[in-house]
Symmetry: C2
Subunit: 454 residues, 2 copies
Amino acid sequence: MADTIKYVLDETHLPKHWYNLVADLPVPPPPVLHPGTLQPVGPDDLAPLFPMSLIMQEVSTEREIEIPEPVRAIYRQWRPSPLYRARRLEKALDTPAKIYYKYEGVSPAGSHKPNSAVPQAFFNKEAGVKRIVTETGAGQWGSSLALAGSFFGLEIEIFMVRVSYNQKPYRRALMETYGARCTASPSNETVCGRAILAERPDHPGSLGIAISEAVETVVQRDDTKYALGSVLNHVLLHQTVIGQEAMLQLEMAGDYPDVVVGCTGGGSNFAGIAFPFIGSGLRGGPKPRIVAVEPAACPSLTKGRYAYDFGDTAHLTPLTKMHTLGSTFTPPGFHAGGLRYHGMAPLVSHCARLGLLEPTSVPQLACFEAGVLFGRTEGILPAPEANHAVRGAIKEALRCKEEGKSETILFNLCGHGHFDMQAYMDYFAGNLTDVTYDESELAMALAGLPSVGA
Amino acid sequence: MADTIKYVLDETHLPKHWYNLVADLPVPPPPVLHPGTLQPVGPDDLAPLFPMSLIMQEVSTEREIEIPEPVRAIYRQWRPSPLYRARRLEKALDTPAKIYYKYEGVSPAGSHKPNSAVPQAFFNKEAGVKRIVTETGAGQWGSSLALAGSFFGLEIEIFMVRVSYNQKPYRRALMETYGARCTASPSNETVCGRAILAERPDHPGSLGIAISEAVETVVQRDDTKYALGSVLNHVLLHQTVIGQEAMLQLEMAGDYPDVVVGCTGGGSNFAGIAFPFIGSGLRGGPKPRIVAVEPAACPSLTKGRYAYDFGDTAHLTPLTKMHTLGSTFTPPGFHAGGLRYHGMAPLVSHCARLGLLEPTSVPQLACFEAGVLFGRTEGILPAPEANHAVRGAIKEALRCKEEGKSETILFNLCGHGHFDMQAYMDYFAGNLTDVTYDESELAMALAGLPSVGA
């Protein structure tokens, strides 16, 4: 029987640096703009939200940024994470392709998110911060920051998108078990939350709204900072341990990917697996195809506009140039809440613009079909978000079969689905559909983009 | 900051043999008796239920039984499992003790159960079996056999104790995702299930009843065998990879336990961690204290009788000598369904009789309190069953603090609690109590024990 093969790195191979793609890009990414002056923001403009150490990472152009030893000490609890070759899946697909997956579900919170939650908590603690406020979609980020907060003795407050808050009470229970406070967003705790509820009391919420509520809460308190689980440069940076490890593990296997696949919502797990490979290609190494798989119901890379936009709904954040569906766009409530964001990480968007990656979108049902096949062959039940990457990898493997090519496919399995069983139950019961967004709502949201020249 | 330390074995240290404690016992365990003749059963008596290869393991007196390579190939997907030193927990307890835990939640099904599900599926497949029927309490065993069935292409049918079936729909969804069929027990599908429902239509079920239904189903079909997730010698045998690995990992740490702690329901995870240490002690090595922690609501070792009894409620199984609360005893519905069994593995019971272990019992709320402290310090949220071991280890660590002793404590963290979040929510909401069994029901069940001489 062809069995799954595991490639394990010993902890001496735990990366010592995060990899900063900006250092290798042929064209620097466009600046972040102050929404009032439309001038590039400086570090001081961001100081109310983040500790200076994270702001310096956000704007850094250094290739390597050292991972502090206390962060590595915590990483070691589950890192280096395993790389697997999915031979049972290959056999089920009858493909000549080799499929590898990096598995980030081994973290205590069950996803890649602690890779950034831990250093964010560390740098905040070091700066004397007492409390961090954040938002979460499906709850992967919220539970990871709650975990990191419990390790560092920080208070954590989380605005959770209401549709996920209701769909995933157990994910919320996990955050509360770690000692965090979790509020459904939009909430009555903020001006912007109250305004949205006044207009639509049953509003399902969105990451854009939850960000607004978190930011509004933070700027009113001195000992409190904000944290974001994706999108920003420093968050993507922290995730690059994934790709760096995968590269070493593929070396153990004597292999190198022809295709690297990741799912994209805000862009952090995708950047984590992809950026080290993109960077290596830019420095003269082999250039694998880089495939970004997003949900058809929230397709910022494939249907959005590359333009300056706000990161949040209430327009409290700076303006960043990114692929966006418009900050007023509310994605429909599908079962991959972690990918339900109107924008895309500016760095990932910039890479798309430079032709360094291939965006593609997949509908919900095809993702669950892929996830069930993966669970039955590889044993690990993926999170609905991760199912997008599974689907993308399977699509590539079937193409290889058609073309008779034995390519090497690497994808990031960014988390397990243990807290998403309702989604699988709904899928088996035939209660899921291929939800789509409202075309006219998208058109309106795009028409409402701020008029800032390229 | 004192952080958790991980001890990783590379896969060359994956055990090649299961360890059979029977070979080292000073007194052989009492024979299993045929319920009709009251004579010791022979391998042929068990042939309708199990393939002969597993029956030979059940009765073996060899010290080492080789693990077939195809089983090791699957074990390698998550084994050797990590051993951690819980330094954050030690710090929170302010104890001079060193606390190590072996973490079995890294398996795809989230517990130690695949250690036996995989070889059981393998040996059945090898014997030409098409379908395996089993029972499950909390669902850890059922989902593990479902997983193993999907790997080997076997049909899996599971009778799940009704109270857990209702409490844990997501655990059931996991079994169904792996392709298994899951039925609430007592059910209308068997004679014994119908009889129990006729008497009490809202019967919560028990492992004893579910075993009866599974056994009844199996004996009617030719291509179908039965599988048990605990209690039997061969199941305990398969779990000894846990203790063997832990021994090597503690050697890496330059340490040896003064106390080994495991939770006990049927006895398999406990045996897995404890038997290799007990055996080493019997062969002249150091003799750590061995602590078996059971739920106060189902206390077979501490309140049961050591006597011949049936493994199931409908009296379809052979008679085994074990600590038992009586096969007609229905434990109350508490939140550690995996420990809700009237009996105790005969081998574990025999060890208790020989004074090789110390049984103790803990109430429900203290276990959840321990689990939450563990989650906040170590990051991993334990299953309610595993919380009994956590509680036991914490109790030992606090004793060390009181006595000023720097002892080494090892416990088995047999699974994570991702599918048990309702239990944690109930705990936080104040809806849990220290449930107790009905004293008069216990007295009646004990009075009804079969009269078979010691």
